[in-house]
Structures are given as C-alpha cells and as structure tokens.
Amino acid sequence: MSGVDLVTVTIDERELRVPKGSGMVEAALAAGIEIPVFCYEPRLGPPVGACRMCLCEVEGIPKPQAACTLTAQDGMVLRTAATSALAKDGQEAVLEFILLNHPLDCPDCDKGGECPLQDLTFRYGPGSTRMHFSKRTFDKPIPISPLIALDRERCILCYRCTRFSEGVSEDGQLVALERGADSFIATFEDEPYRAHFSGNVVELCPVGALTSTAYRFKARPWEIQNVPTVCGQCPVGCNTWISTREGKVVRILSRNHPEVDEGWICDKGRFAYGHLDAEDRISEPLRRIRRHGFEPVTFAEAAQETARALRAAGSSVAVAFSGTETVEEAEAMARIAREALGSDRAILPDDPHPALDAWRAPLSAIRNAEVCLVLGDHPVIERAPAVDLWLRSARRAGAEIITVGPTGSVQTLPGSAPAVAAELASGSVPEELREASRRLRKATRVALVWSEDDPTGGRPIAALASALRLGDGSGVYWIPSTPNGRGVAAAWHAAGAGRETTPPPPEAELGALIVSGDRAAADPVVLALAERADFVLTSAMFMSQVAGWSHILWPGSAYLERAGTTVNLEGRPQRQHPAVGGPEFHELALLAAIGAHLGLAVDAWPSFESSDEHAPLPARGKAVPVPVTPTPMPAGSEEGLALVTYESLFSGLSVERTPTLAFQLTEAEVELARADALAGGISTGDTVVVSSNGSATELRARINQRLKTGVVRIPADHAHGLGQRVEVRKP
C-alpha cells in the first residue's frame, strides 16, 4: 500500500491503523465493531449525517458525533455505544424517535425479516413505547409506478431514495415535499416514477416504505432460496441474486460486483422474468409433421434426427447465433459445425475486433477517467444501462463527458461514428471536434465508449485508442448489441483453428441451418435461409415464423434456467447458475447428444462449481497498433430527414411478457429536432405520418431539444419498414 498515509485511530479502546481519511464506519467494521446506520450509503455520495443513528463519542468533543461523517485522523479516539454512555444514550434516543410514529406494520410489511430497523431495534432499541398519542397517518400504500408502492407511514426519511434519484440515476423523480414533521416522499409533480433504474430504491429503502409490487406478499425471507447468477439481459452482466420460492422466481436482487454494477440493476434486469411462465412458451421438443403442424418428439429422437440431417448436410451447414447463448453452448455448436462438419458458416451478432483486448478495463475505471468519449448512434442507457450510471458518476467526480452522435454534446448525423473516430485519431478535426481532440490528447486517464453497430467490431475505436496511445489508466468499452455477443464470437473463433468465418448470404440454399435463440429466429436473413434450407433445428422459447419452418423445434431455456459462462462487454467471463428448472433438457444436453452421434465429445454440463464469487477481469491483451482507416462522413441530403433507430431497453420478449413492465414499453413516438418541427408546423403531442419508400406509419411527435437538425429518431419497435431517409408531415 505504498503512497497511502496510514493513521492510528482508537475505537472502543482498540487501536487500528487505517488509511487517512477513510470513513469511521468502515474502519470500525474492519475491527469487527458495528456502528448502526440508516442513511449512510457510500454509493450515494458523501455522507449526510441525517438519521443520527451512528452517534458516537469522540474524545475532545462534548456533543456526540455522527460517525458516518467522520474521517480517520491521526489520534482520533472514538467510542461507540458499547463503551460510552453518551453514545448509548444517543443511540437509544434516535431509535425511540424513529419508532415514535412508525406504524406497527411488521406482520403486514414485506420488509419483515430482512429489515434493518427491526434488527437494530432488537439490538439497541427500547422494549416498549412511551408515545401514547395517535401516530401520524397517511393514505397507504400509494403506487408510485406499477412496479413500486410507497408507504409514507413507514418512511423514516433517511432520504436514500431521493439521493439515489437525484445523485446517482439523476432522474430527479423522487423528491421530499413539505418540511419538518410533515415531510413525506413523493414523485416530482405527482408523475409516476418512470425511469430505467427505479427498482433500486426498493433495495435501498431500509424499511418497508418502498416495496416492489411484483414481490408484494409473495414470500418471506425465510421461505426463499437465493441463487447467485449474472443477468443475461444486456452486455453488462450485472451480478444478481435470484430469490425463488417453491421453484418459481419471486424477485431479483443485486449481488454488487464493485467493478461491474456497484450494486445497481436496471428495471429490465430486475423485473423482466415474466417470460419464464408465459403461456405461449414452447414447453417440449417438437417435430414438424406437416407444413406447420408439430408433434412431440423425445429427446433421443430429436438428437438422432438432427445428427442424421447434419451428417447429410456435411459442410453445407450454418449456425445463426443470438448472442444470448452461453459460452459452453456456443462452443458446442461451433465444434459441431466447424470440427465435425467442416463448415465455417455462421451469423455472429457481434464480433469484436481482436485489438480491443489491449485496453481492457473494468467499468469502475470510468469513474476515475478525466475524459470520457462516447461515440455511436445507440443511446448507451438503452443498450448497457450500467455504463450510463458510471458515466454520470464520472461526470460528478469532475470528468469531462463528450458524446458524439445525433443527440450528443457534439451533434453529428447518424452513422458518422466511424468517421469521427478516424478524424480524432488522425488529429485533423473540424471545428466542432477541436476541443474534444485537445482534451483527449491532454488527459492521462481516458474512457472510450463505442455504442454503434458496425461490421468491423469496433475497429475505428481501436484505431483511435491506438493513435492516442492510451496507457494503463485508460480503457476502451465496446458495447455489443447482445448480452453474450463477445463470448459467442470467442467460442466460435476458438473452434475454427484460425479459419475465416463466412456469413451465409440470404439466398443461400443450405443443407442444414441451426437457429439458436429467439433473437436469431426474429432475423429476416435467418428467415430467408430457413425457408430454403433442407433441415432447420431451432432452439427458441416462443413461436415465430422461423420456428414454423423448423424441422426440429427445441424448447429454449431462459438465462435464469441454465448454467454456463457469459462474457460481458468488458471481456469478463462470469458464471450463470440456474435458479429455477426450465425445460426438461437444456440445449447443452441436446448438443452433447448430437455431438456424440457425430463422434464429438461435448460436455452436457458446464464443469464449474456453483459459487457466488465476483469474477475477476482477465489481464489486458498485448497492444497491437491499429491503423486508421479513413472513413468519409455520411453526406447530408436535402431530401427528407435522416432516420436513426434504436432498440429500447424495454423491448423484447421478456419485457413484453411481464405485465408490470408494460408501462415502460416504448411509446409510438418520433423525436424531432426543434427546427424541423417548427418548419413542419408540428408540436409535441401531434400525430404525424412518417413515410419512406412506400411504407408509412402514424406516430406521435415529440421535440427533442438535443437532437440534431435534420435527424429524426424512432424506437426500432415502431420503425418497421422505414428506410434511412423519411418524410415527416402532419396528416
């Protein structure tokens, strides 16, 4: 620990050596002494000292001090309630005051059994109340959104929720109103709490004031089993605990990986598990008998038929991946295709450029960056929500955040990210990028974030990192479009012994097509291939057109039902463990059986032990210089407006089948720049017709002040059939 100043502090007559300036609550904890807290939560920013639960005696100061606000100074002598009458009196007083108007709700309250207020009252509080007046009452519970219920009577006004809403997710939707004893928590302007991270306040709340409606009255802490796993909804891979009761998922909590998610989960990861019990789920293996009819088939038969078809197809086989498979599954399919059948044809949803590994860094390093550059058309919060939180915390810590894109601090046309990266790398930049270029070159700790779909797998950002000669304090974060895109691509390439991959063109006539996952099944290219292929094996959770063309339809498992490894956007392999049982046989079992038929030894079960460890980040790869590829900027056009679409976080199969998340589904909206709206006589709320080469759709207009003039943005769900340039006018 070179360079760290250690000081001596004494807590309850125990001498400790701790780094200067460390929080006293942590220092005490390190010595095994508990200082009870409510409002103290280091992830929410500097301590506020509001609840007064942590009152301790500091030698030399007559009044008790809030230990959470104290930092270790040399020679500090602290006494907690264990050794100081002053501190004990303070602690009892505070607990008495908190409980004064707290309702006797414990049997009804969902927090019971895992409630810090219950625990601390048992340990340090009064046995009975001296308050014989009526307690203050509120209407309760109040839903503040379909996901969260607020019970104002139980609230102890620790302000954790408002501090999260203001200072972490920065949506400013939870506020405290009124003053003093009349204070209560509300939403801003009484609007429902609609945000990407709203669910975190349920975990933060130390009492049962903010509770999850989805978990309401489902189970008690002693009735659930917690399984550690990693979320499979986006490429971040937040670490989670899945609480299950009687074989069903009842809730998802954070498992706090300090480098990846810091204890926060987005609402999709937290609530979108309704697809596990959806009625329209494919529940057993099926074989096609007629044009669109299916009959059940046994595991052995399915494996046999598939192996037969694959052998017949030989190297005319292609695999369409979804990017949601585990590494083990992808590896199995890759080996079947490449080793056993000699085919190098695959559709990989993401394929990172190999040079990116040279700047591998944990997401937590973003917070320490001096400059963060975000390039790409795809809003980071929709694709990898945790990264958005890290960027905000970097900004609060003093970093400069430069976003380049249609809604960025530097506004550009859609599709310009590669060109901008090339310009910044070469150093010859237009006026609007001059400041950005200067800051990037001056800073020693840089974070580059690439949130764009490009077929080169992020080569422009690798070239930029190479040109800037980024060192150890910097990192490059390439955001894939799928949760395990990185892992799948790595597994595929590893099985190929260095051979190139050829994506099959849509008109190819294949001997066999393996469609893995619902995302691949929704791809129009895959549909075209499926219509022409001689044999199609599809593994999916729900029916689709591609599934209808399959010869063998295998019930897919959700990420909560399988064991396997996933690699997140950092390049960190993490383990998923099954929380609940899914279909009787997993995909891996089927693949192992198929492999066996083809003479390949594939493990039907991943070979790692179940554990709740926080996976480490592998070391960086060797730096390989990446030349800059000159890329022209997309040309503006006089005709119409440029359309940019994005996949909203709250879209997809799991969200659609979770009723409590229905309110988060994207609106049928088109975002317009102010100037374009004014030119068309359009205001926010008007219904407009958006059209391009033949197809048209009616959407509601919304003016986005930050959108570049000449660009419109529509969520991908509502932009079907629209081309790159569109016309927007009132009907």
Binding site: P107, P141, F217, W222
Partner: protein, 165 residues
C-alpha cells in the same frame, strides 16, 4: 448362578397376586381420559367477532415452526371483499399434521392470536395426503371432541383470544 427355588416361588407369588389385582389400564376408546386444558392438540384458526379472519398471512408461525410444516401463501386483501383486517390475508394456509410435533411455537409466534392449539388429538387418517390440513379445515371448529379437565382446577391464564376480539 445356582437354582434358587425360594426366590422363584416369591416371584410366582407376585405374579399370582397381580393376576387377581384390578388392572389400571384405561380402556380407550370406551374411557377417554380428560386432557389438561393446555394440552396441545389440533390447531385452530380463529376469526374476529365481525367474521374477519384474524390471520393476516404474516408467516411468523411458519418461521417459528421447528419442523417446517406450515405453508403460508399470502395475498392482497380486496377492500370490497376482505378476508382479514390487514392489508393481506393468507390465501393458502396449510399445516402438514404428519410433520407437526405439536410444540405450540406457532401459537406463541402469532402476533394476532390467530392460531391456537386446541385439545383434539384424534386426527388419524388412512392417507398422508389427508393429513395436510387446509385453511378451511383449520377455520372450522373440530368435529370430534375429547373431554377436557375442568379449567378451574388448573392454573391457566385466560388466552387473549377468548377475552378480546
């Protein structure tokens, strides 16, 4: 050991005498010995005077149970058609009598005196499934009755559910 004819005769004497003594066996089921008032037997779920169930489905009984034989699945009360006075009620309440050890911890744990152990012990069944008592069965007063000793003779505090609503 050498044979002891005198001792054997003494033993036979005891046997002979016992043959003619009146047995102290209580012939159950013709004679049913009264149980003490606090005897822990079959459980009962109680209602308030106004008909609402006392049980709010808080699951503390399940937590206290050493044999893990209580299953509680709560649900939200519909204010128009409520089952219990609180925000929640027990939608499913099952006790597996074959596991229950009749310790009475559930009665002690219940904050609302909703569950008590009555005096019925005649609950044998022919199948284990029938021994899983559901909420409806527990809410109903038990069918058979065993005689209970006079409560006046024993020091028994009046349970709250008898005196309070």
């Amino acid at each position: 050991m050498s044979p002891q004819p005198l001792e054997s005769l003494k033993g036979f004497g005891v046997t002979l005498r016992s043959v003619f003594k009146k047995p102290i066996t209580q012939q159950y089921p013709d004679f049913k010995r009264p149980v003490y008032p606090r005897f822990r037997g079959r459980h009962r779920l109680h209602r308030h005077d106004n008909g609402l169930e006392k049980c709010v489905g808080c699951s503390l009984c399940a937590a206290a149970c050493p044999s893990d034989c209580i299953r509680v699945v709560p649900a939200e009360n519909d204010s128009a058609d409520r089952n219990s006075p609180g925000e929640r009620y027990a939608r499913i309440y099952e006790i597996n009598m074959s596991r229950c050890i009749f310790c009475g911890y559930c009665e002690l744990a219940c904050p609302f005196d909703a569950i008590t152990l009555g005096n019925e012990f005649e609950i044998s069944e022919y199948s284990r499934d029938d021994l899983i008592y559901t909420k409806d069965m527990l809410l109903e007063p038990p069918v058979k009755r065993v005689p209970t000793a006079d409560a006046e003779l024993y020091d028994m505090p009046e349970p709250v559910w008898k005196t309070d609503s």
